[in-house]
């Protein structure tokens, strides 16, 4: 989406770049196009994410010490945190689905944090990646709701606590909001990650201004401070968005298990 803006205002500087360049999917080997089975930078960073998760959760807990080591206590902390969230939000009978929610959370949180490394590729900044996760949650929750409750699951749209004349209108709104769920669920994560990283790159483009003229003496320190501040905010956002994605999965799961309001 950003290639044509490249070098349009190139003032002989090598550091001119477009803020959206970091999201371009390109093949890792060779210069060919991107096909279905091409190994791209997305593939690479997803593999690194999975390896990091394996390092934390499998290798970190392999000792099974009663007094946990540092890595093991981080893994136990993450496990306990998500387990408590599932239990609090979705209820005790949602615990059989805890492994799936744990997988989602750990994958998102790791790819968000790994994407913050300078030069890294943020896999969750692509709607294609988050939409697959959100659609999987949506389909799983809908199928689960029908399997567990039969057609009684449709009562999730019929709010029995509302006054009777209002119920058909509310039912319409509920149906719309139900089918919009995967859209907002996926774009929230992708949009937050993409926007934050693009803002960092916009300020990064101002940082080499000191090489152009005297105005840079003013602009360069300001933009470096701004990059640092926004980076700190992004560290927070990386965690919060993973948390929000997971907690919304729990809320949808609760709707599937207990459709009666």
């Amino acid at each position: 989406m950003a290639t044509e803006a490249h070098g349009a205002e190139d003032k002989g500087l090598e550091l001119v770049f477009h803020p959206m360049d970091q999201f371009i999917v390109k093949p890792l080997f060779g210069d060919g196009g991107v096909g279905t089975f091409t190994i791209t930078n997305v593939t690479l960073w997803m593999a690194i994410t999975v390896l990091a998760i394996v390092a934390l959760l499998v290798l970190g807990t392999s000792g099974r010490n009663t007094v946990p080591s540092r890595i093991q206590s981080i893994a136990e902390l993450a496990y306990g945190f998500i387990r408590k969230m599932v239990e609090d939000v979705a209820g005790k009978d949602a615990l059989p689905y805890f492994p799936y929610i744990m997988t989602l959370f750990i994958f998102i949180v790791f790819s968000n944090f790994l994407g913050l490394l300078p030069g890294a590729f943020t896999t969750t900044s692509h709607i294609a990646v988050t939409a697959v996760m959100a659609m999987a949650v949506f389909l799983a929750v809908t199928i689960l709701g029908f399997v567990k409750n039969g057609f009684g699951f449709l009562s999730v749209f019929w709010i029995s606590s509302a006054p009777l004349p209002l119920r058909p209108i509310l039912a319409l709104i509920e149906v719309i909001s139900y089918f919009v769920r995967p859209v907002s669920h996926s774009i929230r994560l992708a949009g937050n990650m993409m926007a934050g990283h693009a803002v960092i790159k916009v300020f990064a483009a101002f940082a080499p201004m000191v090489l152009i003229g005297w105005i840079g003496v003013l602009v360069t320190p300001l933009s470096i401070i701004a990059i640092t501040a926004i980076y700190a905010l992004e560290v927070l956002v990386a965690f919060i968005q993973a948390y929000v994605f997971t907690i919304l999965t729990c809320v949808y799961l609760k709707d599937a298990l207990h459709p009666h309001h």
């Binding site: 989406m1 969230m85 609090d88 939000v89 919009v180 859209v183 907002s184 774009i187 929230r188 949009g191 919060i240 948390y243 929000v244 907690i247 919304l248 809320v251």
Partner: protein, 78 residues
């Protein structure tokens, strides 16, 4: 010429759609502000309600996401 005008309209519309994000900002600020004022009155009950706060944030933020979606569609799909 005609295509240029259409593209101009799409870009202006994308910019206008982004004003909807201001509404999402007001909504999220309202949720968190009210949570905080409630939490400072009764700090012992606040811990159990943070999850509810995040759900509320997510729901009000969803409407800001729709304006972002409209902007994206105008930029890349129209």
């Amino acid at each position: 010429m005609e295509g240029d005008i259409v593209q101009m309209g799409a870009y202006i519309g994308a910019g206008l759609a982004c004003t909807g994000m201001g509404g999402a900002a007001v909504g999220v600020g309202h949720v968190v502000g009210n949570f905080l004022s409630g939490a400072l009155r009764n700090p012992s009950a606040a811990g159990g309600q943070t999850a509810t706060m995040f759900i509320g944030i997510a729901f009000s933020e969803a409407l800001g996401i729709f304006s972002f979606l409209v902007a994206l569609l105008l930029m890349f799909a129209v």
